[in-house]
Symmetry: D2
Subunit: 360 residues, 4 copies
């Protein structure tokens, strides 16, 4: 019987070697019941968490409940939506945010407030961070009253911020040196998927901690992946974003070609949406692009930064990627034209741009 | 009561179950006659045929039923599936194929055989052609016993083959000179969609003829578009294929980057399929590419030809398309490596290709 | 003694100072007659005319002198300079130009005027054409009073205009069908080299005619090449222009990079001019580009057309050329911005172009 | 009268504020005479040293001589040639090399050997370093017995190694902190130009020190440039190499296009060498490339690294460079094929590469 008064309570059944036995984190009411099944629902060899499947199984039984204290650092747009989801699924959540005011809305939903990142970690067996950038991610760990002051044996730290591999590695090393467990778990998806619990989670690092976090990830996302060693989460995200950014270019080129060739660009979007390359991004961004509306869901300068980093990863591994490189240069052109803060679909402006007579 | 002895007859109330009770192709003066009806089912200003919507409306009313003789030239993989669909939906179909043997299967389904393209046109008010390439498309029109020998006032010719704008224009001019009506109507979609009546039809040319063909197009496809003047169908197809071919490149580059960077390429496909750029092509081709399986649904050399033509269209209209141009060069590289007859996804081999130690 | 009453006469020892004493264009059977001489000045196996070498040899001996009537069609900037050079080197030249007024300046230098292209060919054993474009090149041959009306056995027609291979082939076929000999001989070099007799001549077609023309080519250019079958002259020019156009792009990119990185673009030009890639184009165009001066020595739209044709040649032969393709797209962008009539170095404006804050 | 016994002697005339007055370093016999002219030959505002001009002036007079002790660290291929040139022009040179054996050849020419970098700096007012890479450049400065131990007020350190801007800055800061003066002065040109004193020197940093070094630079190179702040030398070299690497690609593409189109690639080289883009690199590398000979004058992996760094510089400054980016990807492809250690012209193999039938 393991019991850690401070950090949360585990009800029933002795647990030896917290990680060794694949302890599973669950929400208060909804997910706890599975703990007493003889069949381990999430075998540790399984690197993918299929939420749908699990929810079905979960519906089958359910009696006993486990209550877990989860820490949550960072209540920006994403973090707030994620912490809210955890609360709604029965988790006890202790939140911290740089500006404390943001905590109140979550307190209204049942959250407790921690004074500092260190205080949160001191209280919770698992602490999730969702911060705006690498410097914020480093700050909550390394600064005074930071995570490192309280992290230790048997405690897990999960950074879901989007940071580079170097930042992840730095945090990972220190957390491990202190005896803690660490995973990076950047997400694919923005505000809406966060609110709907439909994120895609790209986790890497400590496999046991990942397994323990799967129930929480099932609340936050529609699927989570375990990708191996630290840095792989960041890398996977770069590759996905590179493909996405590259795809935005032929769409832009095609819309412009249609328009200049006497076809309707809107009809092109309609045709695309019925065919083999129909995809949510074209459907969502296409009409906005035709209206010159580039409200930044994903700022162009960040898209270009990700393409640069993906190309650098390719350089490191001697992978020649001429099409993505051409797309990157188009984004750079957009930056040079002052479009960096608009949505990355504003690269369409670079393709369209024709200052003169157009037919010289 | 419209009646055209030679080219088709209109039979009252004799057909049950053909797409509810909506009338279909109409007699020679049918468009004019419909204008007298109080409910105009397909207003001529509507350039898009929404099958779903139409089916609903059709179900609502309908009294008179019409049976129409449609000619069909070319019974290759696509043509056979399309003619079969017309027969199954109650059309009377007169078929012709260069090698007569292929007609027998359709005869078994109720088709009549025409001796020559000219004989088919002589018999049918509307003749659809679905031929393999521009030279075949020209041949059935201009050769001895060809379409031109019988085309004339009040007769419609619909070429659904994929041909270039120049070929379309040449056919259009001659058909019109003889008094006939013409539309080009290339399709997006291959064997399966053809069998399922799920093609996307990109029509252009004579708007009245297009309107008359809408019911048949509703049988053949899930949606049809009227795109304006002759050539626009071909152009729209080029633009769509250019975007598709370009997209295949960042997918290939991303899969290769994942693999060389220590990530699982299969996991990348899984992640992509959950996100904003999930699309049927990635889902279908991706796993095959990882297995090096390039059974040609759309041969690479044809994809590259379409990209070349799309780029030429861009050149004509001074549209700079650097990403599509880079993609085109990758396909050319694939051709130079002897991959032209494989599926266009074989461009992945060009990206992967690393003859040496790989890390020089 | 060779004598051809109608098309030219050979005059013994009457000319002093024409390129030393080397004989020049020869009479109808001249090639055969030279084969009897012990010293074969221009062995037929030699496909390159080395002017310097030849001048040396010419200076060494030489007794007999020949005067030859050469026809010259087209007195634009290039043609006028070239015809002038022929006159200055002792050739008798019969000129024709669409607008007769342009002939007067050459009459002052000793030229005779032909009423029509046909009249020129009727009078001269060899007729050179230097016309502005393919349509003009076709017109002087195929129209009424054109070259074809008088071309025939033993007569040579040399088209030095820059035309596509198809135009060359069409002319070649008809000239040969009538019994005449034909070479295409487009040149590399513009006004100044034409005036200085420093053109580079890219000849192809009838090898015997080429050999006979070598002395005239030595007057017009610093070197001539015989490249084999008709079309090869045009192709070689395309390849050279493709390389040239491509090179203009990294120069533009480098100048822009220098400028934006706090270096002096002029110093970059100075450094380049001292190193391994120093070349006349960089030296000539670079400083003008920095001043935004793009007086069209070679209009951008023509450069882009040549790049398009070179890429098409690559497409035909499955040669992937990603860097040239990227350069072509930059020129297309320049066209779309209305820069097509400026010098091709105006592609620099496309690279520089930064409408906004520049640092988004 | 300034006199520094240890570091070299200055003959005649008091010098106040060594750097303030623009002290000029000269070789023993050849260049010393100009010191007593009233007109300052190299005004400090002049950023370019024109060797030719200077040598002419030098020839005009000359009486008095100055003898200067110059230190030289690093006797690799380049360093040995450069130190030799200094000795031949009358400089007293104290050399150091990691492996002392290499010093003997220079001792035979009159050089003195220093035990350590620190010992060299202790003895010489000016010390030049020519080392193989950034780590060697850092090592001689920061390691035990390194430059920093003896550098100080009134002493100049000149690093002519090719290093990145960060390395230069690091050295610069420490040298200046100790009171010394520093310039980076990477060179353009390899073994032969080094031996012939025909390097191009790209200096940046302390302008006064640059002015003092001009006479020595005149011995080592055909021209030296002063480019402003530290880092600019490295940047200028990157820009030059980016243009050079990019140019190698259209050459490769053109050679391949010629060959596949039925033209002679050798003839293309001949034509190029007569035209507006004739340059030493094409002339030198072209024929070797046609023979598949890629003896590494400049290894491809280093060229690619420079292109990557130049593109990164462009990224930093929002300069879109699509053609150079495409060229970079070709070099990366070459690396992936194991060609990284060959000459950078081996990128031709990437363009040529056609494993299959070649005409699919």
């Amino acid at each position: 019987m393991i019991r850690d008064k401070k950090r949360g309570k585990i009800v029933k059944k002795s647990r030896i070697g917290r990680r060794g036995r694949g302890f599973v984190l669950r929400g208060r009411r909804s997910l706890a019941s599975r703990l007493n099944t003889t069949e381990q629902v999430y075998p540790s060899g399984c690197c993918v968490s299929h939420t749908e499947e699990r929810r079905e199984r979960a519906g089958a039984g359910g009696a006993e409940e486990v209550e877990m204290e989860v820490g949550f650092l960072g209540l920006g747009i994403m973090g707030k939506a994620m912490a809210t989801n955890l609360l709604r699924h029965g988790y006890r959540v202790t939140v911290w945010n740089r500006t404390t005011a943001k905590c109140q809305e979550l307190v209204a939903l049942g959250a407790t407030v921690g004074e500092t990142p260190a205080a949160v970690v001191a209280k919770c067996r698992y602490t999730i961070a969702m911060l705006s950038d690498p410097s914020a991610a480093l700050s909550v760990v390394f600064d005074k009253d930071g995570v490192l002051e309280q992290i230790g044996d048997g405690i897990g730290y999960i950074d879901m911020s989007t940071v580079d591999a170097a930042t992840s590695s730095k945090i990972s090393e220190e957390v491990k040196r202190k005896g803690g467990a660490f995973i990076e778990a950047p997400v694919s998806g923005s505000k809406k998927p966060a609110e709907d619990g439909q994120l895609v989670i790209l986790a890497a690092g400590d496999k046991t901690l990942y397994d323990e976090m799967v129930p929480a990830f099932d609340v936050l996302g529609k699927k989570s992946f375990f990708l191996g060693e630290i840095g792989n989460g960041a890398k996977m995200k770069l590759v996905v974003n590179m493909i996405m950014g590259s795809m935005m270019n032929p769409l832009s080129e095609g819309l412009c070609l249609a328009d200049k060739s006497g076809l309707s660009a809107q009809t092109l979007l309609d045709v695309l949406d019925l065919g083999a390359i129909a995809n949510p991004m074209f459907k969502l961004k296409g009409p906005a692009m035709l209206q010159g509306s580039y409200s930044p869901a994903f700022p162009l300068k960040h898209q270009q930064k990700d393409m640069r980093l993906a190309l650098a990863l390719g350089d490191e591994n001697a992978v020649s990627m001429p099409v993505s490189a051409a797309a990157n240069e188009a984004f750079k052109k957009a930056r040079s034209l002052g479009l960096g803060d608009l949505d990355f679909s504003a690269v369409y402006e670079v393709v369209k741009d024709a200052g003169g007579s157009g037919q010289a």
